[in-house]
Point group: C2
Chain length 246, copies 2
Amino acid sequence: MPEMIDPNDFLPRYYQLANILRESISNGRFEAYQPIPSERQLEGLYSVSRTTIRQAIDLLIRQGFLYREHGRGTFVSPQKLQKGISELTSFSEDMKQRGLRPGQKILEIGYIEPSEQVRQHLELPATWKQVLRIERLRLGDDVPMGLQTSYYALPEGQTITREELEEFGSVYKMLQEKFHLIPTEADETLEVTLATPREAALLQIPSGSPLLLSERTTYSQARRVIEFVKILYRGDRYRYIAKLTR
Amino acid sequence: MPEMIDPNDFLPRYYQLANILRESISNGRFEAYQPIPSERQLEGLYSVSRTTIRQAIDLLIRQGFLYREHGRGTFVSPQKLQKGISELTSFSEDMKQRGLRPGQKILEIGYIEPSEQVRQHLELPATWKQVLRIERLRLGDDVPMGLQTSYYALPEGQTITREELEEFGSVYKMLQEKFHLIPTEADETLEVTLATPREAALLQIPSGSPLLLSERTTYSQARRVIEFVKILYRGDRYRYIAKLTR
DNA sequence: CAGTGGTCTAGACCACCGG
DNA sequence: CGGTGGTCTAGACCACTGT
């Protein structure tokens, strides 16, 4: 029953164990608020050291599946909003998590001279003259959800074409495969604004309707800026979800 | 120079080390994008094992001060918005972090029969008839910032008085000292709404102005619900800040 | 190649919880 | 008291980056 750990697997043991435990939670073998086997018991069950056990449990705690109580045990969290929360996702991933079919319509793609705000977020010197700007209408189940404007400072000579963008669907996927840039972190702010006539027309809502404005700067592993993105979400169709911890 | 670790301190060694390293970062001895000493060097410098070193570094990475690159080293993150982000904070803490003096005006405090929404968020049975409701106007530098409504299902016989609330200032502090409830996690959603005439009057803005609505359910260590809180923020004065990771 | 972080072991002692 | 998680040690080998 307890699927075993393969020491020769390319996945680290603590990661394999985390997958086994996560599976036991989602198929209901471990129930909410109930304890899982103690760390010493797991040592025997899976023939790995306690350090490795704890590494697996730490991972599942960060992912929101378990919690510890000193002197009592390790317990299963109630599901609730157990979907990927407060995680860095692309618009497409976000829509899928919400059960909507993502779509997009590219409005504009080209090079511009960056505004002060864009330059600062991309951490570019004042002398930098060209950044790639992509404006897209974002759809969920074919209904306009948001208006997205992305800015990139690509290496000299490299670029992104409209065809590539339409093919990949997700800029993240393309950045990863074409430039080996992997987004790992982002700073995001959210605020309220009102739709300009142009925005309203694109989003198919009355002019002056309330919008949720998200501004996000995305960083790669080495903490280099990858992109700066603004998304204007329709206030009547979008709700932001976050998970906070101490 | 390198302040030492005291094995007899009541703080764990990895925590002491994290404090030392964090201090070295914030006073500029370690610079952004530059490597800190390697894990083996730190072993010698502070006479603790590599496991303990890594535990300290893990902590600082989660807090956003450092990042690792396999085969290269551990590096200092650029500051940017290095203030408490995506962390579970009370309104008072939030205001202080923004450099504003928090204030409040209690509008109402009393028991009500919970609505369906409130009952579900507090995870109460349909038979539960009484929850404590507190409505407060929240101020930053004496200017109205938000309208907060909190709901609590307190143990039989226990309650919170207006005097206690005014004395403590923060409900979190009071919950901790009076009931030993410590908030450790929360689920939050954000969306846009428009001010009703009453809300507009209290917040001193025109009726129909856009507002940012936050709904938050707070949990204690054992994943029990502590409170459900709605805050209507003035759209023109409040911006939500989040930090996302993969 | 030497040096870095990533994983892992087999122990040990402590602090906390419950009966 | 025995069992739990929390901290810590002194090793080991692997995978990755640079020269």
